[in-house]
């Protein structure tokens, strides 16, 4: 991205170190527990919800990290933590090696420009009372960058054009756009401050197939043009496969498998990953009944009452005694390998 953001407060040392350190966004030991129930810990209903329970992530510059998992796995909480919208119970989030949460308030506010969010629902994420142009301009208005209001408007028109919208529709309200167009607006808004990272939270799951492909291609195109890095959160495994370079699979607040896309999709090591992949209905009727489908029984356990040992053992067909007692840690499947899995009995075919 052509860089006119010299006032972000990046220290020279970090800028110099950037090419040598390809990891742009890093989460270490991220934990977020919510306590519910009586005040001050009194009362019967008190429970600790382990929404995110020890997550390590690394996003390399210019690449896409896909994060898959079912509802309740902690994806949304993790998003909030990565955006510093919520404070972790423990752990750190670093952008360019700087701990976001350790920053003073004003500094944090400026650093937020580096990491922007694209939300799932193009209907609720746009203020119905604003016009398209106002929506796209909002981030620039908040940061007063650029200083002159008319150049912000000009840039907003530019951004609309960049995402395939007609800038002359800038005076329209969100409800006058289709779902796909609204998502484009959301992307234009996210790009307004020339961020380096986009956090895409289910950005295409509310869209129809034909429009979904348009938005996916737009995201990929923008990444190529501006060297953006994405954290791409989705429940649709086929969508993630299409865009991600690396994939992390979440279950019950933890990452159970992580690795480069082709390894995870081609040779899934965690039983849960296998089950997920097997559960995706393939648009090919000839494959019906071809491969043995794994249909998991039951629902994911509640994050308020996670099972002892491996969190997946209640639904796992390979579960043995050790799985109910000892929690497996994320370890490389091959010595020195990139792919890591948290399972006592990983698949090794």
């Amino acid at each position: 991205m052509p860089d006119d953001v010299t006032d972000t407060g990046k220290s020279p040392t970090v800028t110099a170190a950037a090419p040598a350190a390809p990891v742009l966004l890093e989460a270490r030991g991220l934990v977020r527990h919510y306590t519910s129930g009586g005040p001050f810990g009194i009362g019967r209903g008190r429970a600790t919800v382990r929404a995110v329970d020890g997550v390590d992530l690394a996003l390399r510059s210019g690449s896409t990290l896909g994060l898959v998992g079912e509802s309740g796995c902690g994806k949304s909480t993790l998003t909030r933590l990565l955006l510093a919208l919520d404070r972790p119970t423990s752990g750190t989030v670093r952008v360019d090696g700087r701990d976001l949460l350790g920053l003073p308030r004003s500094e944090l506010r400026r650093r937020r420009r580096d990491i922007q969010l694209v939300m799932q629902d193009p209907y609720t994420s746009l203020d119905p009372r604003m016009t398209a142009l106002e929506i796209v301009r909002e981030p620039m208005d908040v940061h007063r960058a650029p200083e002159a209001k008319h150049s912000r408007s000009a840039r907003a028109r530019e951004l609309m054009e960049m995402v395939g919208l007609d800038p002359d529709h800038g005076h329209r309200h969100p409800h006058q756009f289709s779902g796909g167009q609204r998502q484009r607006l959301g992307i234009a808004r996210a790009l307004a401050l020339r961020p380096r990272i986009l956090l895409c939270d289910e950005p295409v799951s509310a869209l129809d197939v034909s429009v979904q492909a348009q938005v996916m291609n737009l995201l990929k195109e923008l990444q190529r043009t501006f060297g953006l890095s994405y954290v791409f959160i989705a429940h649709d495994l086929a969508v993630v496969r299409n865009i991600a370079d690396e994939v992390a699979v979440m279950y019950l607040g933890r990452i159970v498998e992580q690795g480069d896309r082709d390894t995870v999709y081609g040779r899934p090591a965690h039983p849960y990953t296998r089950a997920l992949l097997s559960a995706v209905p393939e648009p090919d009727p000839r494959r019906r009944g071809e491969s043995e489908r794994i249909v998991l029984q039951g629902d994911p356990p509640s994050p308020a009452r996670p099972p002892a040992g491996c969190p997946f053992h209640t639904r796992c067909w390979k579960s043995e005694k050790v799985c109910t007692e000892k929690r497996p840690v994320l370890t490389p499947t091959e010595p020195g390998g990139e792919r890591r899995v948290a399972c006592h009995f990983p698949e090794n075919d």
């Binding site: 197939v209 034909s210 969508v239 209905p281 648009p283 090919d284 249909v295 029984q297």
Partner: protein, 341 residues
Amino acid sequence: MTTTTGGTPAEPQPLLEAEDLTVDLLSGTPGAPRSRRVVRGVSFTLHEGETLALIGESGSGKSLSAMALMGLLPATTAEVGGSVRHRGTDLLALHPDALRARRGKHIAMIFQDALSALNPTLTVGFQIAEVIRAHEQVGRREARARAVELMARVRIPDPARRYRDYPHQFSGGMRQRIMIASALALSPDVLIADEPTTALDVTVQAQIMELLAELRESTGSALLLITHDLGLAATAADRVAIMYAGHIVEQAPVEDLYDRPAHPYTEGLLAALPRLEGPPDDLTPIPGTPPAPGPLPPGCSFRPRCPAARDSCATRQPALLPAPPARLVACHYPLEASSAR
């Protein structure tokens, strides 16, 4: 207009037959009424024991077609035209009471959102039992026993105890099972499932689809599956009908449709779909957006987005015509359907 059926000669009487079904949504004030056509003449047949998937994107009219079939659209907000015959009886011509009697008993529906389809203030068991008691002269005790049995059949663990639980005490997947149980309560011969798994996670979706397939096998009822998911239809359907802008644009046995789509829209949908197999290249989207409900320009409604459109597409609207052996397609220039892949 002769009905468009699967094409094989001497077919038995279809179980459910929709002919030229139209839905107009009414809005505006009594002084200045407005109506927008959203289903523009949909015809299809459903035979005993078969699964027909009605696929379409949002706004294509697929869900409204299903609601119209069931007579569930309120007369104040929608006007339904055409005919829907169930075993030869036109449902749309029936008195509302007679239709209500048929609904549930012969045709039952499973909705997408089980949480809002179930009454939050009543126990789930009571709601299933109520369906039985509304249609059959059975005692409270027997209805209860049958409800528990149904809950066991959709594999709800410990059904006798969970009978007394309320909808919010169940997970999404379990609630969808409750819906299926109450749909099955009177052993209907037609099940209409409107996006039955869209709100569910993929592993739970697999459970529900497996359950539906099993139940269909054991009861022999026919299933009309309304979905936007081409993958789901591929794994569950015998025949598939693709809807676009209120029309059925293509209908074919499932393997024909996915192997050799004849309508450019079908082909476009399949090309736009991200997959788990093959190289993860850039997708080929269909340009533009579907038309808004309301009056359409003359000609083919897909023409503005169609890569193969020619001049005549702008003037004549293509009819849904048979393309042997078993396909129906509404396109002036269908893709080479005969050449095998």
